[in-house]
Structures are given as C-alpha cells and as structure tokens.
C-alpha cells in the first residue's frame, strides 16, 4: 500500500508541475519587464551573476528616481514600474527555447541573449516575433540577417581588426608581420575564422600563418599550441578566449619565454571576452603586454561618470554584497539599452498597446547616441542592419601590472552578409 501512496504523491506532484506551466494570471497593472534568459549556472555563471545584479540595481534606480541616469534629463514614465524577470538557461539551447516561450507568455516585450548557444537557438525566433535583445556574446553570426540582437561592444572580428590596426601601426620589422589565430574551441571562439577576417589582415599587410585551438577551459597549459606559434615565427596571435583560457595560456607563454618583452617577441591580442579588469589582478606583472580590445573601463576608475554611477548604485542597494566582476558594467549597459528602448517605444504608443515589434522598431532601432556615461567606447546607436552599438573599439594593454589604454580605433565592420 505504501508504494501506491507514493505513486499517488508522485502523480500529484506531476500535476502541480504541469499546472505551473500555465501562464500566471493577468499581469499586475502597469509593470514592464526587463531582463530575460540568464546562464546563472554553467560556464558563464560568474559573468551572468554580475549582469543580473546590474539589471536589478538599475531597475530599482529607475523605479525610485524615474530618471534614466544622473547625466541624462529624460524621464521614464512615472506610472510604470520596471521588474526584472529571469530564468536560468544553463547555457543550453533546448532550455533557452522553452524559457523564451514562457517569458513571452508572461508579457515580456524584449529579451536578452546570454551566450553563443542561446543566440544561435533563438535568433530566428526573435526575428519572427519581432523581439529586440541585447547580447552578452558577440560573434559575427549576429550580423547575418535578421539582426534583432544587439551588442554594446564591437563584435569579435572588429575587436581583432582594431588590434591588428594598432599592431601594424607600431610594427618596426623589415618583413611582413606574421599573424595567427590562437582561439578557443567553442562556437564563439571559432566564429572568427571567417574569410572576411583573413582578407582584412592580408589587406593590412599581414602574412597569415594558421590557427591553433585551445580548449575553452584548458586542463593543461597549451604548450603545444604556443610552441607551434614559436616554430612558425608568429608575431601577433589573435583570438577569442575567456579568462579561464587566457590566464593559463599567458602564464605558459611567459614560462616559454614568449611575450612582447621577452626573448621571443610575440604579442597576444584577445577580444573583450577576457576582460582586462579580471585578467590584470589575477596575473599581475606576469601578464605584461597582453592586449584586449573592446573591453570596458575598470570598476575602480571613478573619473568615468558611468563607473561612478555603477559604484553608487552598488553602495546604495547592496552595500554588504559588492559585485566586483567587470560584467556588472555589461549588465548595466544591457539594462540601459532595454529601458531606453521601452522609453522610446512608450513615447509612440500607450502602455496598453505596446507590442514586442513596436519596442524593436520604435525602441531599439530608434536609439541614437545613447549616452552611457562612457561605459561603452562611444554612445550607442542602433538601427536596422546596425547591431553593433558602438563605432569605435577601445584597445587596452597590460603594462607593469596596470591597465593602459592604447587608444581608440574605428570599428571596421569587416564581417558582412
């Protein structure tokens, strides 16, 4: 008998689960949702936790003050409150799909993308339903139509193009500089291997040597790959790596005597996916000469109004739980973009009639020169066919354990479809 009771209990639980699938009853009056799918567990757990914290802080700020930012005069409509809605997708395509449908049913008017697998699973669906979405991942696949996913930093090929621009500008050798990819083994990491990237490097006067692939999170130093670069006399290695890959790689390179200031002269240039503000404190002087493009300003540089704003929000809303991860800035930019899109759309259409497509067309596509307090390299501008918000790429280098801004290069938009 006991077992039958157990089975009955299981049945009840199943019914409860099934019933929770039904959308919740009518939305509370005048609430707009921001946020979207988050990868709070899995490989991007750390980054995403910081992003979510920024979303929540910014929503609280707008709800309390009805302002968009201290340096802006526009006001968010007073009768509407913002609420952050999120679900954990574990960075899995299958989960992202059902989460998207759930949040859509809950009345979300915009979305966010948490990484490459999720972007590839959702991009056509977002276009079909007319959803605009800022994205944390920035592979060139975002450029191919439909183009309803937006980045607030240059996509990875443009990051690398900026590094190539900088490097050739200071090249003093007599021969053509030799360049190779040193990139991670994931959809995002390999997305730079497009013909346009190679053509651009050739046009600048580089000799392209080949690619070396490092695991996303290497379990052993990538000595083989580095030795290959040395064997082939590579001067510049470009690629996409997350910090967990970049740190052991550079550490090993230094041990092998490879670096801009070491016996074997080579420069490593990576995309914004291995942000220097995380890399620098962990590596210190060992990381000297490491170049990153498209990065955000570090969280302790309070001369920048955006960073000051971030710090104030953190102090105000969770003084005991300081989020030191640089992706807090990414989250802040995402939240600012989402709220700005909602604000612009609300000017055209009353709250009751708002649809996702209007938020996309009258919101995201109408964002012009959104001042982010210098959190992004330039103010953000979006439009149909223009999904990279910025027009310039900030390039930083680690020198003597400190982050030094090398300058800003124009965004080349080299990947076209």
């Amino acid at each position: 008998m006991a077992k039958s009771k157990l089975a009955l209990a299981a049945l009840v639980i199943t019914i409860l689960v099934a019933s929770s699938l039904f959308p919740a009853s009518a939305n509370a009056a005048k609430t707009l949702y921001i946020g979207g799918t988050m990868s709070l567990t899995g490989p991007y757990a750390e980054d995403t936790a910081a992003v979510l914290a920024a979303y929540e802080d910014y929503a609280k700020y707008v709800n309390e003050t009805k302002r968009m930012a201290p340096w802006r005069n526009e006001k968010f409509p007073a009768n509407i409150t913002l609420e952050v809605l999120w679900r954990d997708d574990e960075l899995k395509a299958a989960k992202a799909l059902t989460i998207y449908e759930e949040l859509k049913a809950k009345g979300m008017l915009l979305y966010r993308i948490s990484g490459t697998p999720v972007a590839l699973a959702l991009k056509d669906r977002l276009n079909e339903d007319g959803f605009g979405a800022p994205s944390m991942g920035g592979g060139p696949y975002l450029i191919t139509p439909p183009g309803t996913i937006f980045t607030y930093y240059p996509i990875w090929t443009d990051d690398l193009a900026a590094i190539a621009d900088w490097f050739i500008g200071q090249w003093k050798g007599t021969r053509k500089p030799r360049v190779a990819y040193l990139t991670n083994d994931s959809g995002g990491g390999r997305s730079i291997e497009v013909p346009e990237m190679g053509a651009y490097l050739k046009k600048l006067g580089y000799e392209f040597v080949g690619s070396q692939i490092v695991p996303l999170v290497p379990t052993t130093p990538p000595t083989t790959q580095l030795m290959w670069l040395k064997e082939n006399k590579v001067d510049l290695a470009l690629g996409v790596m997350i910090n967990a890959g970049a740190q052991p790689t550079i550490k090993e390179a230094v041990r092998l005597g490879m670096g801009p200031h070491l016996d074997y002269k080579i420069t490593f240039g990576m995309t914004a996916s291995s942000p220097l503000p995380v890399f620098a404190p962990a590596m210190g002087e060992v990381g000297n000469g490491f170049v990153v493009a498209g990065s955000f300003p570090p969280l302790d540089d309070i001369s920048i109004p955006g960073i000051k704003f971030c710090n104030e929000l953190q102090k105000k809303y969770h003084p005991s739980k300081w989020v030191g991860h640089i992706q807090y800035v990414a989250g802040m930019l995402e939240a600012m973009t989402q709220v700005e899109a909602l604000r612009l759309a609300l000017q055209k259409m009353p709250f009751e009639k708002l649809t996702p497509r209007q938020v996309l067309e009258d919101g995201f596509y109408k964002i012009r020169n959104l001042d982010t307090g210098d959190l992004s390299a330039t103010p953000l501008t979006y439009g149909p066919g223009k999904i990279e918000g910025v027009d310039a790429v900030r390039v930083d280098q680690l020198q003597k354990g400190k982050i030094i801004k090398l300058g800003v290069w124009p965004c080349r938009h080299i990947y076209k479809r």
Binding site: M1, K3, S4, L6, A7, T14, V17, A18, S20, L21, F22, P23, M38, L40, T41, A45, T48, A49, L52, A53, E56, L85, W86, R87, D88, D89, E90, K92, A93, A94, K95, L97, T98, I99, E101, E102, K104, A105, T116, P117, L120, A121, K123, D124, R125, E128, P140, Y141, T144, S186, G187, G188, G189, R190, S191, E193, V194, K321
Partner: protein, 349 residues
Amino acid sequence: MGLRCGTFRENYAQDMAIFRTRLHWGVLFAFLIFLFTCPLFFSDRILTVMTMIGIAIISVHGLNILTGYCGQISIGHVGFMAVGAYTSAILTAKLGWSFWPALPCAGLVAGIAGLIFGLPSLKIKGFYLIMATIAAHFIIIWLILQLYNVTGGPDGLAVLKPKIGSFALNSKASYFYLVMAIACLATSLAINIVRTRAGRAFVAIRDNDLAAEVMGINLWSYKLQAFFIGCVYAGVAGALLVHYYGFASVDQFPFMDSVWYLGMLIVGGMGSTAGAIFGAVSLKLLDELVTIVGPVLSKIVAAQAAASLALITRGLVIILFLIFEPRGLGHRWGMIKAYFRLWPFSHEE
C-alpha cells in the same frame, strides 16, 4: 499482459492484438483526440514544451530499442541526432530539397552512421561499448566542425521551416502537429518492431548474447540492426529539432544531453515503450520545474544561489526517485494497472 477478468484470447488475432478490449480502444481515441486538440486550449509556451517532449520521445524510442531491448548501452545518442540534423539541414538549406524527402534521408544517414560506430559492438559490450559510443559523439561533432564548407562549421546553418504546398509550418501549433504525428507513428512502430522476429532476437541478445548465439541468432546482423533502427530514430528526432530551432549548430548537441537521454530511459524504465514515454515526459517536466523554482527561490536567497539550488533539486529528485523506484516509472505503471484491475481485491506483490 494483464487483462480484465473474463477477457479471453480465443484466436491468434486476439492474442496478437495490442488493443484488445473496447476500453483500450476508447482510451486510445480519447487520448489521440485530446492530443490533437491541444493547440486549441493551450498556450504557445505549453505547445513548445510539448513539442520538445515529442522530439525527446522519438529519440528515446530509438535509444530504447538499442539499449532497452537489445542491451547495447549508448551514450552517444546526441551525436547521431546531430548527423540526422545536419543531413536534413544541408539537404534543405544547401541543395534546396523539400523537408519531406530530407526527413527520411536524415534518418537513413544517421542510421548508416550508427552502423559504422556499431561495428565494434560485435567484439565488445558493456563498459567498452559505452566508451565506443562516447567516442562516436565526439568524432561526429569534430567532423561536423571540420567540414565547414558543407556544414557551416561553428557558424551553423540557417534552416527553413517545413512546408506543405505553399503553407509553411511556421506556427507553434502546426509544428506541434507535425512532431506529434511523427511521435505517434514512431511509438506505434516501436511497439511493433519489438514484437517482430528481430525484436525477439534483440531481447534474447540483451538477456544473454552467448545463449542467443547458440540458439542460432546471428549476433552480428541483429546487433547492427539494433544500431541502425536506434539511430534512424535519433536522426529523425535531430532533424525535427533543428527545423524547430530554424538553425543548426553544434552547440545544440552537447554531450551531456546524451547522458540525459539515457537518464530518461532509465527513469522511464528500460525495455518498455511506455517507459520511454514516461521517462521523456517526466525528465523534461522536471527541467521546467527547475527553471521555475530558481526565480521563486531568489526571493529568499541571492539569484545565483537560487539557480544552483534549483540544479541541486533536480539531482536530488532523481536520487530519491532511484532509491524508491530503481526499475523506472514503466514498472510502477504496470503495478498500478494491475492494482486497479484487481481492485478491490488486489494485494501487494
């Protein structure tokens, strides 16, 4: 097979019938009517979940024939799904085929891939075979990345939605019908495959392959048949999956999904067609539960802690389930049916 008291099988046709009594037929029709009217009263969200469950059921049926009936454990099922998915994606997107001939081709090519990686199964079994199938997964994914001229490599391939005439199956409801129709077909095929000569041979091989060989069962041929059939199912499921996403990329076929497909089979109960369905439904619903629990918990603890607690909950539910029901839901289902058949005079076994 338990039937109500007083139901006798008096001739061969009756003995072979799957649906023996009027009640059986009634329940079947009621279920089918319910299933195919779902889009009328369910939201897009539930239809999406059900569509994903339908695809998982097709895939798990294949794994059930291979692992549950023939005893050849495979943890590379998602690799074969990827083969089917990319076959269909390439045929439709690159060669301009229609979806309808591409779907059986996807199954066929995945089946052939299954034959290739099933070859070692003649010499090895158990743990070694698990390894061979794991290897199959990684080699397949690597090959897909290598053949980037055809597959798009890491960029993936945009895939069109299937069309009937000029009507594209764009809406959630239309795709739901497609998947459910194929899932029903797959289920009925699965029930019947295991009742054929081959199906009985599979069971004999699973229970003791040496004994089966001595009895005159050609191990080589039947093991490969099991691999072929299992992977055809996987290929069809994979093709349905990418056409639903509208995009094919290797990220959609992570290794851990193979492990979870095997999990569905174990939770449902090996070697039972009903078990495969129970397993797919229950684990997918558990996934949904985990997604919903996270944000609810975040009202008490920090968001990330909440999400990881939800993940732990999923593990714990499965652990508890295995401790109390190691033979799977299919087994319990049979017990419950037996209980009610004999009610009120039933007794615990």
